[in-house]
């Protein structure tokens, strides 16, 4: 997602003034429930003694709070919210928007900042109480049990896991030694992918008994007992032909 976008400065050019309004969480939650049209309420702007008063009134149909399954009747989100207006003093605030296609455009400059406050009444207090209760609940709870749990950790003749393991082993049977050349081919193709292998991994890849595999490895490879790749097997230098990290090839003698 590299956004090397040319910023669309049309918004700034037109000096679109916008308001940055801080809205409480519950209110924004209610707004999200709005219909497609998006009407959530009304703003009233008044002028009183030289000062402007802005107030927001939430639509009635959005006042229902359906958190925690509470009934709508009991608790309502307050409807009236006067705005507190500030001037944008020490900062230059601009708004830019980002589309899905990573196109950035500067929408406008913020001319006023506002905070949406609810009118404090009993209803609001109840709402707040509810919120606080919710938030103080711990995420994890200790619960005391009356009786000990007896469903697990019963003594078992053989655990399920073990039983499965043994079955699997039986079905697969012991690993059979394949032809030497076949095994060599398998090994070389494996070493084409990685340089260092654990013997266990090789056993898993080739499905050969360990002793047989070790014998073959001793012939074509070396064992690193020290160094960065500890206790790993790698091919002998004459057998390997790794080029850069990207491509490599091995060849048999």
């Amino acid at each position: 997602m590299s956004e090397k976008g040319e910023v669309n400065l049309s918004g700034v050019k037109q000096s679109n003034g916008v308001w940055l309004v801080k809205v409480p969480k519950y209110l924004s939650q209610q707004w999200e429930k709005a219909t497609e049209k998006g009407d959530v309420g009304k703003i009233t702007i008044k002028k009183k003694q030289g000062k402007s008063e802005v107030s927001f009134k939430l639509n009635a149909d959005l006042t229902g709070l359906d958190a925690l399954g509470e009934k709508d009747a009991s608790l309502h989100v307050p409807r009236d919210h006067p705005f507190t207006m500030h001037n944008v003093g020490g900062q230059t605030l601009a708004v830019f928007s980002q589309s899905d296609k990573d196109e950035i455009s500067l929408e406008g400059m913020v001319v006023h900042r506002a905070e949406c406050r609810p009118v404090v009444n009993d209803n609001y207090m109840k709402l707040k109480k509810l919120q606080i209760k919710e938030s103080t609940k711990p995420q994890r709870l200790s619960q005391q049990l009356e009786r000990a749990v007896t469903t697990v950790f019963k003594p078992v003749a053989n655990h399920n896991f073990n039983v499965e393991y043994e079955k699997k082993k039986k079905s697969e049977g012991k690993m059979v030694r394949a032809e030497r050349q076949v095994v060599l081919d398998m090994l070389f193709s494996a070493f084409e992918k990685h340089q260092y292998y654990n013997i266990k991994d090789l056993v898993e890849i080739t499905k050969q008994p360990v002793t047989y595999l070790k014998e073959i490895m001793r012939e074509i490879g070396t064992y690193n007992s020290k160094g960065a790749h500890k206790s790993t097997w790698e091919l002998k230098s004459e057998y390997r032909h790794y080029q850069s990290a990207d491509e490599d090839e091995t060849h048999t003698s």
């Binding site: 400065l9 998006g38 230059t92 928007s97 913020v110 001319v111 506002a114 340089q195 490599d248």
Partner: protein
């Protein structure tokens, strides 16, 4: 319910008037004006607020007012994410190929991390800073860092007024604080720390960046074009110093070029010297170190403790000035020698020898040469003043152990007085002050070298012999050879014949232990009629033979006729002996 329900939903109709009014008020610091609609006489107007569901994500771009940014002046802007942190986080992506890789390494690493509870932060592109470039290449650059916690407790909405008068509220998803990015070069954190430590001393702050630039140029000198360098210089020209004058002491270099961990003071000096040459070649480099503007700390007292100072010269003993002092001293000594030597012929006849050997001397260290010249000068003294040992004693490591002596003013005084006592025609001032021709210096130097060598060869087989002159020596015994000098050892008398015998040696040694060289001085070729080599051989024999009277301290290489004597042994003996042995 407060509020004047004057308007209904139909107020969504807005005429252009109010819209224009809104535009006018879209300036900072202007109060919100009443939006009168139509003929409403009430003081309030209502607008519908809509929260449209838009796919656009709005973000706040916040720039500090102090940076004085006027967005309206931007002609064009580009904004992109700053992905420089990706390589830090994505470091796990090592070589994908087979070479050097292990089978199942990734899983193992992951299991290991889980076991230890190491949680690595993921690299989220949305959280990366923005880089905003305004007005193209020459314009400003801003870096915007995401402000955390904006959307956690409260939501921000952007209210815009639509043409129809209704407000539309868009939620804000992020907040980025933008800061201008400095285009000029800055110091790194380590460099800044260093400079902070020196802030009280450094007065000239231009030189800080100048130094850094020069250092960078040094590193990239092979790769850089000349044009680049010229460009850099021009940039610096505003703050640089004019001229190629560089006045710097060693201390300056040590302090100013202490930047890199690798560069020592000397490196810096050499670097700067190299730069100087380069600069001079280009004729444009303005790198005056401005040392005269720097207030440097005084050197501690202990700085020069270990240095051996040639007390014959008036100059102080800095390493640099040693070199400077050398030619000066060189000049001074021969003059002194001239004056001090009794016979002119002696100096002349030895000049040739000395000149030959002088070349060899000059190959030695700068430090050694003054030492040697000193010694030679003394050697050339026909009087064989022992005070000369005092002077050469000054130079530390290179000083001949033979000339071990306390560095006291009496040396000078002694010297002067010796001179006066001896010849009487000598000027009162020590010989140092007077200048001299280089030829005589060379002569003196070579003579000293010769004598040293011979001494060295003589003392080769026996252990290195070192004689120490006590500061207050008693007057020599009735050898009649030396006249007592206040602060010096024996001084040979003017013109008595001396036989190089064991008794003579013993007599000398009775007074105090002496080094072979001093003994040699006593038995000068002229007096004994022997050549230098012969003298040395005889001395050697004597020292070996007369074990009762002459004891040699092998460990400390001291000749003494008495078993008990206090020493102030200098371990530099061995060094010097190796020098003597050619």
């Amino acid at each position: 319910m407060v509020g004047h329900h004057r308007t209904t939903e139909g107020t969504s109709l807005r005429n252009a008037v109010s819209h224009r009014t809104l535009k006018k008020t879209a300036h900072r610091n202007t109060p919100v004006q009443t939006f009168l609609w139509g003929s409403s006489s009430s003081s309030g107007t209502e607008y519908i607020v809509r929260v449209p569901k838009t796919p656009l994500k709005s973000t706040i771009l916040c720039i500090n007012s102090g940076d004085k940014v006027a967005c309206s002046t931007w002609t064009q802007a580009r904004m992109e994410r700053d992905m420089s942190a990706r390589r830090i986080y994505g470091e796990e992506e090592t070589t994908e190929g087979a070479a050097g890789s292990e089978f199942g390494k990734k899983q193992r690493e992951e299991a290991r991390r889980k076991k230890f509870g190491i949680v690595t932060k993921e690299f989220k592109v949305e959280d990366q800073p923005w880089i905003l470039k305004v007005n193209g290449k020459a314009g400003k650059r801003f870096k915007g860092i995401k402000k955390g916690g904006v959307t956690e407790n409260a939501s921000y909405y952007i209210f815009t007024q639509c043409p129809d008068g209704a407000f539309e509220a868009f939620p804000v998803h992020g907040w980025y604080n933008f800061m201008p990015v400095a285009k000029h070069r800055t110091l790194t954190a380590e460099e800044a720390e260093e400079e902070w430590g020196r802030r009280n001393k450094v007065v000239n702050h231009f030189s800080i960046m100048l130094q850094r630039r020069l250092r960078e140029q040094e590193r990239g000198e092979d790769d850089d074009d000349e044009g680049e360098k010229a460009g850099k210089k021009k940039k610096k020209g505003g703050g640089g110093r004019g001229g190629d004058l560089r006045i710097h002491d060693l201390e300056d270099d040590l302090e100013m070029s202490s930047d890199d961990s690798h560069s020592s003071g000397e490196d810096g000096e050499s670097k700067s010297k190299a730069k100087k040459e380069v600069g001079k070649g280009k004729g444009k480099k303005k790198k005056k170190k401005g040392s005269e503007h720097e207030a440097l700390e005084d050197s501690d007292d202990g700085d020069y403790e270990g240095l051996e100072v040639d007390y014959m010269s008036d100059e102080s003993s800095s390493e640099e000035e040693m070199e400077k002092g050398k030619p000066v001293k060189a000049e001074e000594h021969p003059k002194g020698i001239d004056e001090m030597s009794e016979s002119e012929e002696e100096s002349e006849e030895e000049k040739q020898n000395e000149e030959e050997t002088k070349e060899e001397d000059e190959e030695d260290d700068g430090k050694k040469t003054p030492v040697q010249s000193e010694k030679k000068k003394k050697k050339a003294d026909s009087s064989g003043e022992s005070e000369s040992s005092d002077d050469s004693d000054i130079e530390g490591e290179t000083a001949s152990a033979l000339f071990m002596k306390k560095r006291t003013p009496p040396k000078r005084g002694g010297r002067g007085s010796a001179g006066s006592s001896r010849t009487g025609s000598r000027p009162g001032t020590p010989s140092i002050d007077s200048g001299s021709t280089s030829s005589t210096l060379r002569a003196a130097a070579s003579k000293l070298e010769q004598g040293k060598r011979q001494t060295g060869s003589a003392t080769d087989t026996p252990a290195a012999k070192r004689l120490k002159m006590e500061p207050n020596s008693q007057s020599p015994a009735p050898s009649g050879k030396s006249t007592p000098q206040p602060a010096s050892g024996k001084s040979t008398p003017s013109s008595s014949d001396v036989q190089l015998t064991e008794e003579a040696v013993r007599r000398y040694l009775i007074r105090k232990p002496m080094t072979t060289k001093d003994l040699l001085k006593k038995f000068q070729t002229k007096r004994t009629g022997l050549s230098n080599e012969q003298t040395v051989n005889v001395l050697a024999q004597i020292s070996r033979g007369s074990t009762q009277s002459v004891k040699m301290s092998t460990t400390r290489c001291i000749f003494t006729s008495q078993s008990n004597w206090t020493e102030g042994v200098v371990t530099r003996i061995t060094v010097n002996m190796s020098l003597c042995q050619t």
